[in-house]
């Protein structure tokens, strides 16, 4: 720190910042909408949680900066931040009584004002708001002065309780199917947790966490301490358990969650492919959806029983053609872009993706692939006489696809070709001077990547039984790219983690509706700031990040 900064100034800044965030959350309508959504029935709504999140977070963070012994100062800071956070909201409330703000800001409705003033008049409501915010700030700051022994269990308990409440819709469905509606009613009410259940859950989790602190030894330590031979045995056992879980997963998850897992699986498949192109070979591809589309359309044309389909092929017979079509497209795209670098490549591939989508949607190709009306009546895959109709059945097709793709990725990464890609990614010119044929190496990356995507697209078409051009928009490319980076570029398990976070999570949070993409965007930023290397980074990504830290560490004194 340069000079000793005025603490008050900092607090003022973060207090107001917190207030502005709370104000923004309110003004864009999140508070209003989510106040209809109970977290704990009758006690806490999601809207309230959102409103209080920013003062709580800021109060806690500011308190962390203040020394541990100075707890009075810390609590005061929390209080101060809480009060400051309320001020922008109160200004909003006062203005809204004078002007009809709703004609400008659609979300500043009467409901919102009522929420902010706790259904009281402006004066009383404002005072209440200040008090509540101050209380929230105080408690949050107070958390910091609690010994970690207690703080940790409380955090765990809160995370679990809020988590269960947030996902209560999906969870209650599962609970119902396993244990019947009686239990469900005890635990959940509509889409919220029952207050009693929330308390029990909190106490339970906090208790377990507290108890666990005394018993640090984990399974991993236990295995590590075994002699090598036994260690191998245990590893095999765990591998076996893992495979078993993968096999019975649809039974545990039920229809809807299997459907979600299937969607995640298709993205994993695409992610594995793009991971080869971007993660291994370092070729930034923003038009990756094109190959997905080509795989899907090939499947559709070959198998559809409708007017446009050839219909002579079964799903399995068509599959190789789909992959082959995508691979050829990958090579065809690869050739003109071979000499382009970095961002030139990015925009050209983006263009390619758009070209494919527009062509699919165009009147020009309508006689062949249906134009805007898409292709219908694509049969689902079948084995013998069993049509794999249910998500829980299709799951296995996707699982096998993912496993094969992951295996190929893994083998290639550690092979001579993998080294070629890595070298090319590090320094294209030098790689060429090492005798690496850039043309072949790049085309192979494009082709294999496209192949996985085509496979994914083929399954997608068959799963959906009908495809339309607008399913193949730029957003998919962006999504796949984001997920491999969030998971950790170049990392195979990272693709799975990334897909789970960026595809699975939003799917489960469907009820956030139009705020889904806002939160998605915010999440991308936060995740990249917090974990620029991704959630499960590959070795090389760790190394690169290490270089990044080395180069920046100088400035963070």
């Amino acid at each position: 720190m340069r000079e000793k900064q005025n603490t008050l100034k900092i607090l003022l800044k973060s207090g107001l910042l917190s207030g502005v965030i709370a104000l923004s959350v309110s003004m864009i309508g999140m508070v209003g909408l989510f106040s209809q959504r109970d977290m704990i029935a009758g006690v806490l709504t999601l809207g309230q949680l959102l409103l209080f999140a920013s003062p709580a977070a800021f109060a806690y963070l500011e308190a962390v900066k203040i020394s541990k012994d100075d707890w009075r100062k810390g609590l005061l800071a929390g209080l101060f931040i809480g009060v400051l956070s309320a001020i922008p909201l109160i200004i909003l409330v006062i203005i809204s009584t004078l002007v009809n703000l709703r004609q400008y800001f659609v979300s500043v409705s009467d409901t919102l004002i009522q929420i902010l003033t706790f259904n009281q008049d402006v004066f009383l409501g404002s005072i209440l708001l200040i008090l509540v915010m101050a209380f929230v700030g105080l408690i949050a700051a107070g958390m910091r002065y609690m010994p970690i022994k207690y703080r940790h269990p409380i955090f765990q308990g809160l995370i679990w309780t809020f988590g269960v409440s947030l996902f209560s819709e999906v969870l209650s469905e599962r609970v119902r199917s396993f244990f019947g509606s009686f239990i469900t009613k005890i635990m959940f009410k509509s889409r919220a947790t029952q207050p009693l259940f929330a308390i029990v859950l909190f106490v339970f989790i906090a208790g377990i966490t507290y108890w666990q602190q005394g018993h640090k030894s984990s399974i991993k330590d236990f295995i590590d301490n075994q002699p090598p031979k036994k260690k191998r045995q245990y590893q095999l056992i765990f591998l076996g358990i893992g495979i078993l879980i993968l096999i019975i997963l649809p039974l545990i998850l039920g229809t809807y969650l299997s459907e979600v897992i299937n969607n995640v699986g298709l993205y994993i498949l695409m992610g594995l492919g793009l991971n080869i192109v971007v993660g291994f070979a370092g070729l930034l591809d923003l038009g990756y959806v094109a190959f997905f589309a080509i795989g899907a359309y090939t499947m559709a044309v070959l198998t559809s029983e409708g007017a446009l389909g050839i219909s002579a092929f079964s799903f399995w017979a068509a599959l190789p053609f789909c992959v082959a079509a995508s691979v050829s497209a990958g090579i065809l795209l690869g050739i003109p872009v071979l000499r382009m670098r970095g961002d030139y490549l990015a925009i050209v591939t983006l263009g390619f993706g758009e070209i494919i989508r527009i062509m699919a949607n165009s009147d020009l190709l309508k006689p062949f692939i249906g134009g805007a009306q898409g292709i219908l009546q694509i049969p689902k895959p079948s084995i013998g006489n069993i049509v794999l109709f249910k998500p829980g059945q299709l799951y296995y097709v996707i699982l096998i696809g993912v496993l094969i793709a992951a295996y190929i990725s893994w083998r290639l990464r550690d092979s001579r070709l993998g080294r070629q890609w890595m070298a090319m990614r590090e320094d294209e010119d030098v790689a060429e001077a090492m005798g690496i044929n850039l043309v072949n190496t790049k085309l192979l990356a494009f082709a294999i990547g496209a192949g996985f995507s085509g496979l994914s697209g083929a399954i997608f078409a068959s799963k959906l039984t009908s495809i339309f051009p607008h399913s193949f928009n730029l957003l998919i490319s962006i999504n796949v790219l984001s997920l491999i980076i969030v998971g950790g570029l170049g990392s195979i398990p990272g693709v799975v983690v990334g897909a789970a976070i960026l595809v699975g999570l939003p799917e489960l949070l469907r009820e956030f509706k139009e705020y889904r993409l806002l939160m998605y965007g915010g999440l991308l930023i936060v995740m990249m700031l917090a974990k620029p290397e991704g959630f499960w980074p590959s070795t090389i990504q760790k190394r690169e990040l290490h270089a990044f830290q080395e180069s920046t560490s100088g400035n963070d004194t």
Binding site: S24, M27, I28, G29, M30, Y104, F105, V106, S107, V278, I335, P336, V337, L338, R339, M340, R341, G342, D343, Y344, I347, V348, G351, F352, E354, I355, I358, M359, N361, S362, D363, L364, K366, A433, V439, L474, L481, S482, I485, V486, L489, E514, Y515, L517, L518, Y520, G521, G522, L523, L524, I525, M528, L529, P532, Q541, E544, L545, F548, S551, T552
Partner: protein, 353 residues
């Protein structure tokens, strides 16, 4: 034998075929169109004017991409949202209330000035905030990381403004004095298109002079080349980068006003497509180069406007205008095959070893 096969430049052959193929198609289509002669020369002139007007918008937005790319070597995906945020806010908070109160009709140019200033302020504020929060902490991170935060920021701002002002298409009032047409080279062009073209050209030239001649402009160029050395000259690198973002965003803000003037409606999603087009234009012209962005923008506008009618109509393709983006992107590929660095970009290829 193997040796001999290796000696053949397959790649060259394929690229040659591709180039030739596209060029033959273009020429064939154009000749066929010209023979069919479906349009009068006036219509062709119209196409060109439409293309130039649209192109100047692309150029103004492309400046932002190119400036930021020149300095940080990152694709600022959120730039399209800088474009949207300014005019969207100004329309809701200023233009429509002013229209309703009659102020805009009585003082059209004062009103337009206020709208422009508001749009610029909001665009710049959003840009600076984005830079500070989402890009600055990651300046030395691997390159794809800020790309992802930029995508995140783009989504965030889109839906933030949607939440703030709603998802409806909002009208932008017609400005008195900018209605009507004036004769030009045998055709008539809309006054607002003239304004767009003139303003865009003035802004582009002004910006170019600013960057090339002023001390701040030169310091930005210095930062673009080498941040550490620039700091050793006494240049505040963070500030220079902020200024770069602010300049780009200001251009986007102005582009937003021009867009609204011409198309007279705004929407939270309005930035997306112009953003992608402008980015394409920036690359087409040679990313990092200001004149390149301008040239790329005008070229792209022309391709989109003239292309479908000239190249495709003669080939008997149904609904050719649906394929204008195909033309735009194909042209991009074609240009980049000939000149991998874009029309006015610096030669990267020879620098490599």
């Amino acid at each position: 034998m193997r040796q001999r096969f290796q000696d053949i430049d397959y790649l060259g052959v394929v690229l040659w075929l591709l180039r030739t193929g596209i060029i033959i198609l273009v020429i064939w289509g154009s000749v066929a169109t010209i023979i069919q002669n479906p349009y009068s020369s006036k219509t062709w002139m119209d196409f060109i004017v439409f293309g130039v007007a649209q192109g100047s918008l692309y150029a103004l937005i492309a400046i932002g991409y190119t400036l930021v790319y020149g300095v940080l070597f990152m694709i600022n995906f959120a730039h399209s949202e800088f474009f949207m945020s300014g005019i969207f806010t100004a329309t809701i908070l200023l233009a429509n209330p002013m229209k309703a109160s009659g102020f805009l009709d009585s003082h059209p140019f004062v009103g337009l000035g206020l709208i422009t200033i508001t749009a610029i302020i909001v665009s710049v504020a959003i840009a600076l905030l984005t830079e500070r929060v989402a890009y600055r902490p990651l300046r030395k991170a691997p390159r794809l990381v800020p790309l992802i935060t930029a995508i995140g920021a783009s989504f965030f701002w889109q839906y933030f403004f949607r939440g703030l002002f709603g998802s409806e298409v909002k009208p932008f009032p017609q400005i008195e004095g900018l209605i009507g047409k004036i004769p030009f080279l045998g055709t008539e062009i809309l006054i607002n298109q003239v304004v767009v073209i003139v303003v865009a050209i003035i802004m582009l030239i002004g910006l170019y002079i600013f960057v090339m001649k002023t001390k701040i402009g030169k310091s930005i160029r210095a930062v673009a080349e080498d941040k550490d050395t620039a700091a050793l000259m006494g240049i505040d690198v963070d500030r220079a980068i902020s200024i770069t973002f602010a300049m780009g965003a200001a251009m986007a803000g102005i582009a937003g006003v021009l867009y609204a003037m011409v198309f007279r409606q705004v929407h939270f999603f309005m930035g997306f497509i112009p953003g992608i087009k402008a980015f394409t234009a920036a690359v087409l012209g040679g990313i990092g180069s200001i004149p390149g962005a301008a040239v790329g923008g005008f070229f792209l506008g022309m391709f989109e406007s003239v292309g479908p009618s000239l190249f495709l109509q003669g080939l008997g393709i149904p609904a050719p205008h649906q394929l204008k983006d195909v033309i735009a992107f194909t042209m991009l590929v074609l240009v980049l095959i000939f000149r991998p660095q874009g029309i006015l970009g610096e030669r990267l290829a020879e620098k490599k070893a």
